[in-house]
Protein backbone atom coordinates (compact mmCIF):
# COMPACT_ATOMS: atom_id res chain seq x y z
CA UNK A 1 0.00 0.00 0.00
CA UNK A 2 1.40 3.33 -1.00
CA UNK A 3 -0.25 5.55 1.61
CA UNK A 4 0.14 4.14 5.04
CA UNK A 5 -1.65 5.86 7.95
CA UNK A 6 0.52 8.30 9.83
CA UNK A 7 0.14 8.43 13.56
CA UNK A 8 -0.06 12.03 14.69
CA UNK A 9 1.36 13.20 18.02
CA UNK A 10 -2.21 13.50 19.28
CA UNK A 11 -2.60 9.74 18.97
CA UNK A 12 -5.17 9.88 16.19
CA UNK A 13 -4.63 8.62 12.68
CA UNK A 14 -4.25 11.34 10.12
CA UNK A 15 -6.63 11.65 7.25
CA UNK A 16 -5.76 9.28 4.46
CA UNK A 17 -7.59 7.03 1.98
CA UNK A 18 -7.28 4.21 4.48
CA UNK A 19 -9.60 5.95 6.91
CA UNK A 20 -12.56 5.84 4.57
CA UNK A 21 -12.06 2.11 4.14
CA UNK A 22 -12.35 1.59 7.86
CA UNK A 23 -15.35 3.80 8.38
CA UNK A 24 -17.95 2.53 10.81
CA UNK A 25 -20.53 0.39 9.10
CA UNK A 26 -24.02 -0.13 10.51
CA UNK A 27 -24.38 -3.88 11.05
CA UNK A 28 -28.19 -4.16 11.14
CA UNK A 29 -28.63 -7.97 11.36
CA UNK A 30 -25.93 -8.04 14.02
CA UNK A 31 -27.70 -5.40 16.09
CA UNK A 32 -31.03 -7.22 15.84
CA UNK A 33 -29.44 -10.50 16.83
CA UNK A 34 -27.69 -8.83 19.75
CA UNK A 35 -31.01 -7.38 20.86
CA UNK A 36 -32.77 -10.76 20.55
CA UNK A 37 -30.14 -12.64 22.56
CA UNK A 38 -30.26 -10.00 25.27
CA UNK A 39 -34.06 -10.09 25.40
CA UNK A 40 -34.03 -13.87 25.72
CA UNK A 41 -31.85 -13.51 28.80
CA UNK A 42 -34.18 -10.89 30.25
CA UNK A 43 -37.15 -13.22 29.81
CA UNK A 44 -35.43 -15.90 31.88
CA UNK A 45 -34.52 -13.47 34.63
CA UNK A 46 -38.04 -12.01 34.66
CA UNK A 47 -39.67 -15.45 34.88
CA UNK A 48 -37.58 -16.53 37.84
CA UNK A 49 -38.03 -13.18 39.56
CA UNK A 50 -41.79 -13.43 39.05
CA UNK A 51 -42.07 -16.95 40.41
CA UNK A 52 -39.93 -16.32 43.44
CA UNK A 53 -41.32 -12.86 44.11
CA UNK A 54 -44.92 -14.01 43.85
CA UNK A 55 -44.37 -16.95 46.13
CA UNK A 56 -42.38 -14.98 48.65
CA UNK A 57 -44.84 -12.09 48.85
CA UNK A 58 -47.86 -14.35 49.21
CA UNK A 59 -46.18 -16.92 51.39
CA UNK A 60 -44.18 -14.86 53.85
CA UNK A 61 -47.08 -13.91 56.11
CA UNK A 62 -47.93 -17.47 56.97
CA UNK A 63 -44.31 -18.57 57.51
CA UNK A 64 -43.51 -19.14 61.14
CA UNK A 65 -41.64 -21.51 63.37
CA UNK A 66 -44.97 -23.14 64.22
CA UNK A 67 -45.76 -23.62 60.53
CA UNK A 68 -42.54 -25.57 60.06
CA UNK A 69 -42.86 -27.64 63.22
CA UNK A 70 -46.58 -28.41 63.50
CA UNK A 71 -48.79 -30.98 61.79
CA UNK A 72 -51.66 -29.98 59.50
CA UNK A 73 -54.94 -29.38 61.28
CA UNK A 74 -58.62 -29.10 60.43
CA UNK A 75 -58.51 -30.71 57.01
CA UNK A 76 -55.31 -28.86 56.02
CA UNK A 77 -56.82 -25.41 56.47
CA UNK A 78 -54.70 -24.70 59.52
CA UNK A 79 -51.55 -25.93 61.25
CA UNK A 80 -48.15 -26.65 59.73
CA UNK A 81 -46.30 -28.94 57.38
CA UNK A 82 -43.83 -30.72 59.63
CA UNK A 83 -44.81 -34.29 58.63
CA UNK A 84 -44.30 -33.37 54.97
CA UNK A 85 -40.85 -31.90 55.65
CA UNK A 86 -39.93 -34.93 57.75
CA UNK A 87 -41.16 -37.33 55.07
CA UNK A 88 -39.29 -35.46 52.35
CA UNK A 89 -36.02 -35.56 54.26
CA UNK A 90 -36.41 -39.25 55.10
CA UNK A 91 -37.28 -40.01 51.49
CA UNK A 92 -34.27 -38.26 49.97
CA UNK A 93 -31.88 -39.68 52.58
CA UNK A 94 -32.97 -43.21 51.68
CA UNK A 95 -32.85 -42.34 48.00
CA UNK A 96 -29.28 -41.03 48.36
CA UNK A 97 -28.15 -44.17 50.15
CA UNK A 98 -29.49 -46.17 47.23
CA UNK A 99 -28.47 -44.01 44.29
CA UNK A 100 -24.94 -42.82 45.14
CA UNK A 101 -23.16 -46.20 45.41
CA UNK A 102 -24.81 -47.56 42.28
CA UNK A 103 -24.28 -44.36 40.29
CA UNK A 104 -20.64 -44.09 41.33
CA UNK A 105 -19.97 -47.69 40.40
CA UNK A 106 -21.55 -47.25 36.99
CA UNK A 107 -19.46 -44.11 36.41
CA UNK A 108 -16.27 -45.89 37.50
CA UNK A 109 -16.97 -48.72 35.12
CA UNK A 110 -17.71 -46.36 32.25
CA UNK A 111 -14.71 -44.11 32.79
CA UNK A 112 -12.02 -46.29 34.34
CA UNK A 113 -12.62 -49.79 33.04
CA UNK A 114 -14.61 -50.05 29.85
CA UNK A 115 -13.25 -49.52 26.41
CA UNK A 116 -15.40 -47.05 24.51
CA UNK A 117 -15.97 -49.56 21.77
CA UNK A 118 -17.27 -52.34 23.99
CA UNK A 119 -20.87 -53.42 23.74
CA UNK A 120 -21.55 -52.98 27.46
CA UNK A 121 -20.21 -49.41 27.31
CA UNK A 122 -22.46 -48.49 24.40
CA UNK A 123 -25.49 -50.19 25.95
CA UNK A 124 -24.94 -48.41 29.28
CA UNK A 125 -24.50 -45.05 27.56
CA UNK A 126 -27.74 -45.57 25.69
CA UNK A 127 -29.53 -46.69 28.85
CA UNK A 128 -28.32 -43.71 30.88
CA UNK A 129 -29.36 -41.13 28.30
CA UNK A 130 -32.73 -42.84 27.84
CA UNK A 131 -33.26 -43.02 31.58
CA UNK A 132 -32.71 -39.27 31.78
CA UNK A 133 -35.45 -38.73 29.21
CA UNK A 134 -38.19 -40.89 30.71
CA UNK A 135 -41.17 -38.81 31.95
CA UNK A 136 -41.41 -38.94 35.74
CA UNK A 137 -44.99 -40.28 35.77
CA UNK A 138 -43.67 -43.33 33.94
CA UNK A 139 -41.23 -43.82 36.81
CA UNK A 140 -44.18 -43.70 39.18
CA UNK A 141 -45.98 -46.48 37.32
CA UNK A 142 -42.73 -48.40 36.93
CA UNK A 143 -42.16 -48.15 40.68
CA UNK A 144 -45.63 -49.45 41.39
CA UNK A 145 -45.29 -52.35 38.98
CA UNK A 146 -41.65 -53.25 39.59
CA UNK A 147 -40.99 -52.45 43.24
CA UNK A 148 -44.40 -52.57 44.97
CA UNK A 149 -46.07 -55.35 43.03
CA UNK A 150 -42.95 -57.13 41.76
CA UNK A 151 -40.53 -57.04 44.68
CA UNK A 152 -42.88 -56.23 47.55
CA UNK A 153 -45.55 -58.83 46.84
CA UNK A 154 -42.95 -61.53 46.31
CA UNK A 155 -41.19 -60.68 49.58
CA UNK A 156 -44.55 -60.93 51.32
CA UNK A 157 -45.29 -64.29 49.72
CA UNK A 158 -41.86 -65.69 50.61
CA UNK A 159 -41.30 -64.30 54.11
CA UNK A 160 -44.64 -63.16 55.52
CA UNK A 161 -46.98 -65.91 54.32
CA UNK A 162 -48.86 -63.61 52.00
CA UNK A 163 -49.54 -61.02 54.68
CA UNK A 164 -49.45 -57.45 53.35
CA UNK A 165 -46.14 -55.91 54.54
CA UNK A 166 -43.93 -54.91 51.65
CA UNK A 167 -46.47 -55.40 48.89
CA UNK A 168 -48.02 -51.97 49.29
CA UNK A 169 -46.86 -48.39 48.68
CA UNK A 170 -44.09 -47.64 51.17
CA UNK A 171 -41.23 -45.31 51.96
CA UNK A 172 -38.62 -47.75 50.67
CA UNK A 173 -40.30 -48.27 47.30
CA UNK A 174 -40.76 -44.53 46.79
CA UNK A 175 -37.11 -43.96 47.69
CA UNK A 176 -35.94 -46.66 45.26
CA UNK A 177 -38.15 -45.29 42.48
CA UNK A 178 -36.64 -41.83 43.01
CA UNK A 179 -33.20 -43.42 43.04
CA UNK A 180 -33.77 -44.83 39.56
CA UNK A 181 -34.97 -41.40 38.42
CA UNK A 182 -31.90 -39.58 39.75
CA UNK A 183 -29.38 -42.23 38.70
CA UNK A 184 -28.35 -40.36 35.52
CA UNK A 185 -27.57 -37.22 37.54
CA UNK A 186 -25.16 -39.11 39.80
CA UNK A 187 -23.57 -41.05 36.94
CA UNK A 188 -22.95 -38.00 34.76
CA UNK A 189 -21.62 -35.82 37.59
CA UNK A 190 -19.28 -38.56 38.78
CA UNK A 191 -18.04 -39.17 35.25
CA UNK A 192 -17.28 -35.46 34.87
CA UNK A 193 -15.31 -35.59 38.09
CA UNK A 194 -13.34 -38.64 37.00
CA UNK A 195 -12.60 -36.95 33.69
CA UNK A 196 -11.19 -33.94 35.55
CA UNK A 197 -8.63 -36.08 37.40
CA UNK A 198 -5.39 -35.88 35.41
CA UNK A 199 -4.37 -39.12 33.80
CA UNK A 200 -0.80 -38.52 34.97
CA UNK A 201 -1.90 -39.40 38.49
CA UNK A 202 -3.24 -42.76 37.37
CA UNK A 203 -0.02 -43.39 35.46
CA UNK A 204 2.07 -42.37 38.47
CA UNK A 205 0.20 -44.85 40.62
CA UNK A 206 0.43 -47.67 38.08
CA UNK A 207 4.13 -46.97 37.53
CA UNK A 208 4.70 -47.58 41.23
CA UNK A 209 3.36 -51.08 40.87
CA UNK A 210 -0.21 -50.39 41.95
CA UNK A 211 -2.97 -52.48 40.44
CA UNK A 212 -5.84 -50.79 38.70
CA UNK A 213 -8.04 -51.44 41.73
CA UNK A 214 -5.46 -49.91 44.11
CA UNK A 215 -5.14 -46.92 41.79
CA UNK A 216 -8.89 -46.35 41.83
CA UNK A 217 -9.18 -46.79 45.61
CA UNK A 218 -6.12 -44.77 46.67
CA UNK A 219 -5.71 -42.17 43.94
CA UNK A 220 -8.85 -41.73 41.89
CA UNK A 221 -11.64 -41.93 44.49
CA UNK A 222 -10.04 -39.69 47.15
CA UNK A 223 -9.78 -37.06 44.44
CA UNK A 224 -13.35 -37.57 43.32
CA UNK A 225 -15.07 -37.29 46.71
CA UNK A 226 -16.19 -33.68 46.33
CA UNK A 227 -17.50 -34.36 42.83
CA UNK A 228 -19.44 -37.38 44.02
CA UNK A 229 -20.83 -35.29 46.86
CA UNK A 230 -21.97 -32.68 44.33
CA UNK A 231 -23.68 -35.39 42.31
CA UNK A 232 -25.44 -36.60 45.43
CA UNK A 233 -26.68 -33.13 46.29
CA UNK A 234 -27.88 -32.49 42.74
CA UNK A 235 -29.74 -35.80 42.87
CA UNK A 236 -31.32 -34.80 46.17
CA UNK A 237 -32.45 -31.44 44.86
CA UNK A 238 -33.86 -33.13 41.79
CA UNK A 239 -35.55 -35.88 43.78
CA UNK A 240 -36.92 -33.63 46.51
CA UNK A 241 -39.22 -31.84 44.10
CA UNK A 242 -40.60 -34.85 42.22
CA UNK A 243 -44.20 -35.83 42.84
CA UNK A 244 -45.15 -38.18 40.05
CA UNK A 245 -42.73 -41.02 40.96
CA UNK A 246 -44.00 -41.22 44.54
CA UNK A 247 -47.67 -40.80 43.71
CA UNK A 248 -48.33 -44.55 43.52
CA UNK A 249 -45.34 -45.79 45.46
CA UNK A 250 -45.69 -44.42 48.97
CA UNK A 251 -46.83 -40.82 49.40
CA UNK A 252 -49.94 -40.31 51.50
CA UNK A 253 -52.57 -37.61 51.61
CA UNK A 254 -52.56 -37.25 55.36
CA UNK A 255 -51.09 -39.37 58.16
CA UNK A 256 -51.69 -38.87 61.85
CA UNK A 257 -48.20 -40.13 62.73
CA UNK A 258 -44.71 -39.80 61.32
CA UNK A 259 -43.28 -42.68 59.27
CA UNK A 260 -41.12 -44.90 61.49
CA UNK A 261 -40.25 -47.91 59.37
CA UNK A 262 -39.31 -48.68 55.78
CA UNK A 263 -42.79 -49.94 55.03
CA UNK A 264 -44.57 -46.84 56.38
CA UNK A 265 -46.31 -44.49 54.04
CA UNK A 266 -45.28 -40.86 54.35
CA UNK A 267 -46.25 -37.27 53.60
CA UNK A 268 -44.04 -35.29 51.24
CA UNK A 269 -43.75 -31.58 50.40
CA UNK A 270 -44.33 -31.83 46.66
CA UNK A 271 -47.25 -34.18 47.07
CA UNK A 272 -48.58 -32.04 49.90
CA UNK A 273 -48.64 -29.05 47.53
CA UNK A 274 -50.58 -31.13 45.03
CA UNK A 275 -53.02 -32.14 47.76
CA UNK A 276 -53.41 -28.58 49.08
CA UNK A 277 -54.11 -27.19 45.64
CA UNK A 278 -56.56 -29.83 44.47
CA UNK A 279 -58.16 -31.54 47.46
CA UNK A 280 -58.83 -28.76 49.93
CA UNK A 281 -62.37 -28.33 51.28
CA UNK A 282 -61.80 -24.60 51.77
CA UNK A 283 -59.72 -23.04 49.00
CA UNK A 284 -59.41 -19.58 50.52
CA UNK A 285 -58.25 -20.88 53.88
CA UNK A 286 -55.70 -23.16 52.24
CA UNK A 287 -54.18 -20.55 49.95
CA UNK A 288 -51.64 -18.96 52.34
CA UNK A 289 -50.60 -22.41 53.54
CA UNK A 290 -50.11 -23.49 49.95
CA UNK A 291 -47.93 -20.47 49.18
CA UNK A 292 -45.81 -20.98 52.26
CA UNK A 293 -45.39 -24.69 51.53
CA UNK A 294 -44.22 -23.93 48.01
CA UNK A 295 -41.84 -21.38 49.47
CA UNK A 296 -40.36 -23.95 51.86
CA UNK A 297 -39.92 -26.50 49.06
CA UNK A 298 -38.26 -23.93 46.80
CA UNK A 299 -35.99 -22.70 49.58
CA UNK A 300 -34.96 -26.26 50.37
CA UNK A 301 -34.14 -27.05 46.73
CA UNK A 302 -32.28 -23.78 46.15
CA UNK A 303 -30.28 -24.27 49.30
CA UNK A 304 -29.22 -27.74 48.16
CA UNK A 305 -28.29 -26.43 44.71
CA UNK A 306 -26.32 -23.62 46.27
CA UNK A 307 -24.34 -26.04 48.40
CA UNK A 308 -23.62 -28.16 45.30
CA UNK A 309 -22.46 -25.09 43.38
CA UNK A 310 -20.16 -23.97 46.19
CA UNK A 311 -18.57 -27.40 46.53
CA UNK A 312 -18.09 -27.64 42.79
CA UNK A 313 -16.50 -24.23 42.45
CA UNK A 314 -14.11 -25.01 45.29
CA UNK A 315 -13.21 -28.27 43.60
CA UNK A 316 -12.56 -26.49 40.30
CA UNK A 317 -10.39 -23.91 42.03
CA UNK A 318 -8.38 -26.72 43.58
CA UNK A 319 -7.92 -28.41 40.22
CA UNK A 320 -6.82 -25.12 38.68
CA UNK A 321 -4.23 -24.62 41.39
CA UNK A 322 -2.90 -28.05 40.55
CA UNK A 323 -2.59 -27.37 36.85
Amino acid sequence: MSTSPVITPGGGISSSPVESQMKHRLDVPGKIFYFLTGSACLIIVAMVAFIIGNIFINGKDHLSWRFITAAPEEGMTAGGIFPAIYGTVLLVVLMTIAVVPVGVMVAIYLHEYSSHTSLLYKATRLAVSNLAGVPSIVFGLFGLGFFVKGFGSNIDRLFYGGQLVFGQPALIWAALTLAVLTLPVVILTTEDTLRAIPNELREASMALGATKFQTIMHTVLPQAVTGILTGGILAVSRGAGEVAPILFTGAAYFLPELPHKLTSQFMELGYHIFVLSTQSPDVEATKPILYSTVFVLLALTFLLNLVAIIIRSQMRARLRRRA
Binding site: S115, P198, L201, A204, M206, L208, G209, A210, H218
Partner: protein, 279 residues
Protein backbone atom coordinates in the same frame (compact mmCIF):
# COMPACT_ATOMS: atom_id res chain seq x y z
CA UNK B 1 33.51 -31.01 35.50
CA UNK B 2 35.38 -29.26 32.72
CA UNK B 3 38.81 -30.64 33.38
CA UNK B 4 39.79 -33.27 30.91
CA UNK B 5 36.58 -32.93 28.97
CA UNK B 6 36.73 -33.82 25.34
CA UNK B 7 35.54 -31.19 22.92
CA UNK B 8 33.91 -32.72 19.96
CA UNK B 9 34.00 -31.38 16.48
CA UNK B 10 30.26 -31.00 16.85
CA UNK B 11 30.81 -28.39 19.56
CA UNK B 12 29.04 -30.36 22.23
CA UNK B 13 30.89 -30.95 25.43
CA UNK B 14 31.15 -34.57 26.45
CA UNK B 15 31.75 -35.83 29.92
CA UNK B 16 35.25 -37.21 30.48
CA UNK B 17 35.51 -40.83 29.51
CA UNK B 18 34.15 -43.35 31.95
CA UNK B 19 35.49 -46.73 32.79
CA UNK B 20 33.08 -48.32 30.43
CA UNK B 21 34.56 -46.98 27.29
CA UNK B 22 36.71 -49.09 25.07
CA UNK B 23 37.06 -52.82 25.42
CA UNK B 24 35.78 -53.01 28.97
CA UNK B 25 32.31 -52.11 27.76
CA UNK B 26 31.94 -55.62 26.44
CA UNK B 27 32.27 -57.06 29.91
CA UNK B 28 29.45 -55.05 31.46
CA UNK B 29 26.32 -57.21 31.54
CA UNK B 30 23.26 -56.02 29.67
CA UNK B 31 20.26 -55.21 31.84
CA UNK B 32 17.72 -54.61 29.11
CA UNK B 33 17.82 -56.25 25.72
CA UNK B 34 15.38 -55.45 22.92
CA UNK B 35 15.18 -57.78 19.95
CA UNK B 36 13.46 -56.64 16.83
CA UNK B 37 10.73 -54.70 18.62
CA UNK B 38 7.81 -53.39 16.58
CA UNK B 39 5.11 -51.29 18.19
CA UNK B 40 1.66 -50.47 16.87
CA UNK B 41 -0.91 -47.86 17.87
CA UNK B 42 -3.86 -49.48 16.14
CA UNK B 43 -2.72 -49.68 12.52
CA UNK B 44 0.08 -47.14 12.91
CA UNK B 45 3.52 -48.60 13.33
CA UNK B 46 5.43 -46.46 15.81
CA UNK B 47 8.55 -48.61 16.20
CA UNK B 48 10.29 -50.62 13.52
CA UNK B 49 12.59 -53.47 14.39
CA UNK B 50 14.32 -51.89 17.38
CA UNK B 51 17.22 -53.99 18.67
CA UNK B 52 19.48 -52.68 21.38
CA UNK B 53 21.14 -53.59 24.66
CA UNK B 54 21.26 -51.39 27.75
CA UNK B 55 24.24 -51.85 30.09
CA UNK B 56 23.66 -52.42 33.77
CA UNK B 57 24.30 -49.45 36.09
CA UNK B 58 24.94 -47.12 33.20
CA UNK B 59 22.96 -44.26 31.77
CA UNK B 60 21.55 -44.67 28.30
CA UNK B 61 20.07 -41.64 26.58
CA UNK B 62 17.40 -41.96 23.91
CA UNK B 63 17.43 -38.97 21.56
CA UNK B 64 15.61 -38.06 18.41
CA UNK B 65 13.06 -35.61 17.03
CA UNK B 66 9.49 -35.50 18.42
CA UNK B 67 7.42 -38.46 17.34
CA UNK B 68 10.45 -40.63 16.57
CA UNK B 69 9.28 -43.33 18.97
CA UNK B 70 11.76 -42.88 21.81
CA UNK B 71 9.07 -42.31 24.46
CA UNK B 72 7.03 -45.18 23.05
CA UNK B 73 10.05 -47.43 23.37
CA UNK B 74 10.70 -46.24 26.91
CA UNK B 75 7.11 -46.87 27.93
CA UNK B 76 7.16 -50.37 26.50
CA UNK B 77 10.01 -51.26 28.88
CA UNK B 78 7.71 -51.19 31.92
CA UNK B 79 4.62 -52.02 29.91
CA UNK B 80 2.98 -48.65 30.59
CA UNK B 81 1.75 -48.84 27.02
CA UNK B 82 -0.44 -51.75 28.07
CA UNK B 83 -2.69 -49.09 29.60
CA UNK B 84 -3.27 -47.46 26.22
CA UNK B 85 -6.06 -49.30 24.39
CA UNK B 86 -5.34 -50.62 20.92
CA UNK B 87 -1.57 -50.92 21.25
CA UNK B 88 0.48 -53.98 20.40
CA UNK B 89 4.10 -55.00 20.81
CA UNK B 90 5.94 -57.47 18.58
CA UNK B 91 9.44 -58.79 19.09
CA UNK B 92 11.09 -59.48 22.42
CA UNK B 93 12.18 -57.32 25.31
CA UNK B 94 14.28 -58.98 28.01
CA UNK B 95 15.06 -57.51 31.40
CA UNK B 96 17.54 -59.61 33.40
CA UNK B 97 17.05 -62.26 30.77
CA UNK B 98 13.29 -62.47 31.37
CA UNK B 99 10.98 -61.85 28.44
CA UNK B 100 8.78 -59.13 29.97
CA UNK B 101 5.93 -59.70 27.55
CA UNK B 102 5.75 -63.41 28.37
CA UNK B 103 2.34 -64.59 29.57
CA UNK B 104 3.72 -65.50 32.99
CA UNK B 105 4.95 -61.96 33.68
CA UNK B 106 2.68 -59.73 35.76
CA UNK B 107 3.08 -56.13 34.54
CA UNK B 108 2.37 -54.93 38.11
CA UNK B 109 5.42 -56.78 39.42
CA UNK B 110 7.48 -55.63 36.44
CA UNK B 111 6.68 -51.99 37.24
CA UNK B 112 7.92 -52.43 40.79
CA UNK B 113 11.28 -53.46 39.36
CA UNK B 114 11.32 -50.87 36.59
CA UNK B 115 10.43 -47.44 37.94
CA UNK B 116 9.34 -44.50 35.82
CA UNK B 117 9.77 -40.73 36.08
CA UNK B 118 7.48 -38.68 33.89
CA UNK B 119 8.03 -35.51 31.90
CA UNK B 120 5.55 -33.50 33.92
CA UNK B 121 6.17 -33.98 37.62
CA UNK B 122 3.05 -35.67 38.90
CA UNK B 123 3.06 -35.89 42.69
CA UNK B 124 -0.19 -37.08 44.23
CA UNK B 125 -2.21 -34.30 45.86
CA UNK B 126 -1.18 -35.71 49.22
CA UNK B 127 1.51 -34.83 51.75
CA UNK B 128 5.21 -35.20 50.94
CA UNK B 129 5.36 -38.20 53.28
CA UNK B 130 2.30 -39.88 51.77
CA UNK B 131 3.69 -39.47 48.27
CA UNK B 132 6.77 -41.49 49.11
CA UNK B 133 4.87 -43.93 51.32
CA UNK B 134 2.28 -44.63 48.60
CA UNK B 135 4.15 -47.30 46.69
CA UNK B 136 5.60 -48.82 49.86
CA UNK B 137 2.16 -49.24 51.40
CA UNK B 138 0.58 -50.54 48.23
CA UNK B 139 3.27 -53.15 47.82
CA UNK B 140 3.18 -54.04 51.51
CA UNK B 141 6.90 -53.42 51.94
CA UNK B 142 6.71 -51.97 55.44
CA UNK B 143 5.13 -53.82 58.34
CA UNK B 144 5.51 -51.15 60.99
CA UNK B 145 5.28 -47.38 61.01
CA UNK B 146 8.93 -47.11 62.02
CA UNK B 147 9.93 -49.20 59.02
CA UNK B 148 7.87 -47.01 56.73
CA UNK B 149 9.41 -43.85 58.23
CA UNK B 150 12.83 -45.29 57.56
CA UNK B 151 12.11 -46.12 53.92
CA UNK B 152 10.57 -42.68 53.35
CA UNK B 153 13.58 -40.91 54.82
CA UNK B 154 16.07 -43.04 52.94
CA UNK B 155 14.27 -42.54 49.63
CA UNK B 156 14.12 -38.78 50.15
CA UNK B 157 17.83 -38.74 51.02
CA UNK B 158 18.68 -40.82 47.96
CA UNK B 159 16.74 -38.39 45.81
CA UNK B 160 18.69 -35.48 47.33
CA UNK B 161 15.62 -33.71 48.61
CA UNK B 162 15.54 -34.72 52.30
CA UNK B 163 17.12 -31.52 53.59
CA UNK B 164 14.57 -29.41 51.75
CA UNK B 165 11.48 -31.27 52.94
CA UNK B 166 12.41 -32.77 56.33
CA UNK B 167 10.46 -30.04 58.13
CA UNK B 168 7.44 -30.19 55.89
CA UNK B 169 6.78 -33.90 55.44
CA UNK B 170 3.14 -33.38 56.34
CA UNK B 171 2.43 -30.45 54.07
CA UNK B 172 1.11 -30.90 50.56
CA UNK B 173 3.54 -31.99 47.87
CA UNK B 174 1.85 -29.56 45.51
CA UNK B 175 3.42 -26.69 47.46
CA UNK B 176 6.92 -27.73 46.37
CA UNK B 177 8.69 -26.08 43.45
CA UNK B 178 8.76 -27.83 40.07
CA UNK B 179 12.28 -29.16 40.59
CA UNK B 180 11.50 -30.35 44.11
CA UNK B 181 8.35 -32.06 42.86
CA UNK B 182 10.36 -33.91 40.25
CA UNK B 183 12.92 -35.07 42.83
CA UNK B 184 10.04 -36.10 45.08
CA UNK B 185 8.71 -38.21 42.20
CA UNK B 186 12.15 -39.79 41.92
CA UNK B 187 12.13 -40.49 45.68
CA UNK B 188 8.69 -42.00 45.30
CA UNK B 189 10.00 -44.36 42.64
CA UNK B 190 13.09 -45.29 44.65
CA UNK B 191 10.93 -46.23 47.64
CA UNK B 192 9.53 -49.19 45.70
CA UNK B 193 13.10 -50.51 45.34
CA UNK B 194 13.40 -50.75 41.57
CA UNK B 195 16.67 -51.63 39.88
CA UNK B 196 15.99 -49.82 36.62
CA UNK B 197 14.70 -46.27 36.22
CA UNK B 198 13.01 -44.98 33.08
CA UNK B 199 13.00 -41.21 32.76
CA UNK B 200 10.86 -39.51 30.17
CA UNK B 201 12.33 -36.02 29.68
CA UNK B 202 12.52 -35.55 33.45
CA UNK B 203 13.93 -32.03 33.29
CA UNK B 204 12.25 -30.59 30.21
CA UNK B 205 9.84 -28.46 32.27
CA UNK B 206 12.46 -27.20 34.73
CA UNK B 207 14.69 -24.14 34.98
CA UNK B 208 18.48 -24.55 34.46
CA UNK B 209 19.31 -24.74 38.18
CA UNK B 210 16.68 -27.40 38.91
CA UNK B 211 17.82 -29.21 35.78
CA UNK B 212 21.39 -29.22 37.02
CA UNK B 213 20.26 -30.70 40.34
CA UNK B 214 18.32 -33.43 38.57
CA UNK B 215 21.31 -34.25 36.36
CA UNK B 216 23.59 -34.39 39.36
CA UNK B 217 21.13 -36.73 41.03
CA UNK B 218 20.91 -38.94 37.94
CA UNK B 219 24.69 -39.31 37.89
CA UNK B 220 24.61 -40.24 41.58
CA UNK B 221 21.82 -42.78 41.05
CA UNK B 222 23.83 -44.49 38.32
CA UNK B 223 25.91 -46.19 40.99
CA UNK B 224 22.97 -48.36 41.95
CA UNK B 225 20.46 -48.17 39.14
CA UNK B 226 20.32 -48.79 35.43
CA UNK B 227 18.94 -45.59 33.93
CA UNK B 228 17.35 -44.99 30.57
CA UNK B 229 16.54 -41.37 29.86
CA UNK B 230 14.63 -39.79 27.00
CA UNK B 231 15.76 -36.25 26.32
CA UNK B 232 15.35 -33.52 23.74
CA UNK B 233 18.34 -31.72 25.13
CA UNK B 234 21.53 -32.73 23.30
CA UNK B 235 23.74 -31.12 25.95
CA UNK B 236 21.94 -33.09 28.61
CA UNK B 237 22.41 -36.36 26.77
CA UNK B 238 26.11 -35.51 26.35
CA UNK B 239 26.49 -34.48 29.99
CA UNK B 240 24.88 -37.41 31.73
CA UNK B 241 24.78 -40.47 29.53
CA UNK B 242 27.27 -43.23 28.89
CA UNK B 243 25.48 -44.50 25.82
CA UNK B 244 23.25 -42.72 23.37
CA UNK B 245 20.68 -44.19 21.03
CA UNK B 246 19.39 -42.07 18.17
CA UNK B 247 15.82 -42.78 17.08
CA UNK B 248 14.35 -41.45 13.87
CA UNK B 249 10.93 -42.21 12.32
CA UNK B 250 10.43 -45.22 14.56
CA UNK B 251 13.79 -46.73 13.79
CA UNK B 252 16.99 -46.98 15.77
CA UNK B 253 19.50 -45.24 13.52
CA UNK B 254 22.55 -45.64 15.68
CA UNK B 255 23.57 -46.50 19.22
CA UNK B 256 27.04 -46.14 20.66
CA UNK B 257 29.06 -44.76 23.52
CA UNK B 258 28.00 -41.15 24.05
CA UNK B 259 31.52 -39.82 23.48
CA UNK B 260 31.63 -41.58 20.12
CA UNK B 261 28.09 -40.52 19.16
CA UNK B 262 28.78 -36.86 19.81
CA UNK B 263 32.27 -36.71 18.33
CA UNK B 264 32.26 -39.14 15.51
CA UNK B 265 28.87 -40.63 14.67
CA UNK B 266 28.89 -43.30 11.98
CA UNK B 267 25.65 -42.24 10.38
CA UNK B 268 25.00 -39.03 8.55
CA UNK B 269 21.45 -38.70 10.05
CA UNK B 270 22.90 -38.76 13.55
CA UNK B 271 25.38 -36.03 12.76
CA UNK B 272 22.70 -33.90 11.10
CA UNK B 273 20.44 -34.22 14.10
CA UNK B 274 23.09 -33.62 16.73
CA UNK B 275 24.41 -30.56 14.95
CA UNK B 276 20.90 -29.21 14.67
CA UNK B 277 20.44 -29.47 10.96
CA UNK B 278 16.96 -30.91 11.50
CA UNK B 279 14.65 -32.02 14.27
Amino acid sequence: MNTGATYSKLAIQVRPGTKTEGKKAMEVPSKVVAENVDFYYGQTRALRGISLAVKEKHITALIGPSGCGKSTFLRSLNRMNDLVPGTRVEGKIYIDGQDIYAKSVDPILLRRKVGMIFQKSNPFPKSVYENVAYGVKINGYAKKKAELDEIVEKSLRDAAIWDEVRDRLDSSALGLSGGQQQRLCIARSLAVKPDTLLMDEPASALDPISTAKIEELILELKKRYTIIIVTHNMQQAARVSDYTAFFFMGELIEMDATSKMFTNPSRKETEDYITGRFG
